[in-house]
């Protein structure tokens, strides 16, 4: 164990190395490590947040989809109702139209029949006059006997 000046030299070297390490080595390296740790922690937190956001968004989308489906079903239901209503309305309208047409047809027929009856009556009157003329073989004064004829026509 011979302690000597080497000890002093080593002590100086030790102090110099420690001071250099303290000033120029330790701070940048530990700074970089800590900064990177912060970055990684931030990244992990952000990814956590993103995962939560995604979950929320998915839930929202599901809810919206459900709502949309319900709405679509409602719309279809309403459309069906409207369809039935339209058909009913159309049927009612058509019935009314039919009745109207039928009524007008009946009226036409009635007027035509009345007309025909009238004509027929007149024809019958003429025929009757003609027949009576033939039977009597002489002319009957139509003007004189018109009251009789009219009576006859009215009886037809």
């Amino acid at each position: 164990m011979n302690l000597n000046m080497t000890l002093v030299g080593e002590l100086i070297a030790f102090i110099v190395f420690v001071i250099f390490c303290m000033k120029y080595v330790w701070p940048p390296i530990i700074g970089a490590i800590e900064a990177r740790q912060a970055i990684i922690a931030d990244g992990l937190a952000a990814s956590d947040r993103a995962a939560k956001d995604l979950e929320l968004a998915q839930e929202k989308a599901t809810a919206q989809l459900k709502e949309a489906k319900a709405q679509a079903a409602g719309i279809v239901e309403a459309a069906k109702k409207r369809e039935v209503q339209i058909i009913e309305e159309a049927a009612v309208k058509a019935h009314a139209e039919k009745d109207k047409i039928l009524a007008s047809g009946h009226a036409e027929i009635d007027t035509e029949r009345n007309q025909a009856k009238e004509e027929l009556r007149q024809q019958v009157a003429i025929l009757a006059v003609a027949g009576a003329e033939k039977i009597l073989e002489r002319s009957i004064d139509a003007a004189v006997h018109s009251d009789i004829l009219d009576k006859l026509v009215a009886e037809l």
Partner: protein
């Protein structure tokens, strides 16, 4: 060994344990210890400085990764023991750990290699493991001891420090001198045990390497085993030195 049949094993070992030195008495300087330790210290400083200069917060390269692993390991060790704010302790621990580790690692270099190379240049003595020189280990321990005293006085004040040295473990005033002696022994044992533990372990290891080198051809497997065993001893001694430094400095910061 093969350094000639004319020298005995004893002479061989003695030769390998002699420092290359200049000067007489206390003024002696061990050139080899000083040279190798400063060289290895520069290796540490330059390696770590080169990483520190380019240190980026992005994806680190391989060297940066390796250096950061060491730095984080030291930082964790400091944080687990020392719960205060001190800008010196962590860099001090890093310097001690890496420097001592590198100096201890010189033990793995075959015992004859470096002395033989230097012999070619006419240098007769070369002891390449600086931590087998008590001057080296005592210098480290002394540096730590000065810091222990400095922080003890800075944190507790001179009065507080003296009070700590005298008023415990026994509370009665008549036993204060006994307390003082006990506490002084505790205090002085710290640097002494630091220095002697490292020196003793490394010196003994080196001595066994030298003994193994004298047993002829069988030295090869035995040397391998002993070197493998040093995979444990070398980092462990560096780690113990660092851990105890942190522990002693954190004790110096404790105010009762």
């Amino acid at each position: 060994m093969s350094s000639g049949a004319e020298i005995t094993s004893q002479e061989y070992i003695k030769h390998h344990l002699t420092n290359l030195s200049v000067g007489e008495g206390f003024m002696t300087v061990h050139i080899d210890t000083l040279g190798w330790s400063v060289f290895l210290g520069l290796v540490f400083i330059m390696l770590f400085r080169s990483v520190a200069k380019k240190a980026s917060t992005g994806v680190p390269g391989r060297l940066q990764c390796a250096v950061e692993m060491v730095v984080e390991f030291v930082d964790d060790s400091v944080k687990s023991t020392f719960h205060g704010k001190n800008p010196v302790i962590a860099p001090l621990a890093l310097t001690i750990f890496v420097w001592v580790l590198l100096m201890n690692a010189m033990d793995w270099v075959p015992v004859d290699l470096i002395p033989r190379i230097f012999e070619l240049f006419g240098v007769n003595y070369m002891k390449a493991v600086p931590t087998t020189d008590p001057n080296m280990t005592f210098a480290l321990a002394l540096g730590v001891f000065v810091l222990i005293l400095y922080y003890s006085i800075k944190v507790k004040g001179i009065g507080g420090f003296i009070k700590e040295l005298t008023t415990q473990p026994f509370g009665h005033w008549s036993l204060y001198p006994v307390n003082f002696i006990l506490e002084m022994v505790t205090l002085l044992a710290r640097p002494l045990s630091l220095a002697l533990r490292l020196f003793g372990n490394m010196y003994a290891g080196e001595l066994i390497f030298l003994l193994i080198a004298t047993i002829g051809v069988f030295q090869l497997p035995v040397h391998f085993l002993w070197a493998a065993f040093h995979l444990l001893i070398i980092p462990l001694q560096a780690f113990i030195f660092m851990m105890l430094t942190i522990l002693y400095l954190s004790l110096a910061h404790e105010d009762h």
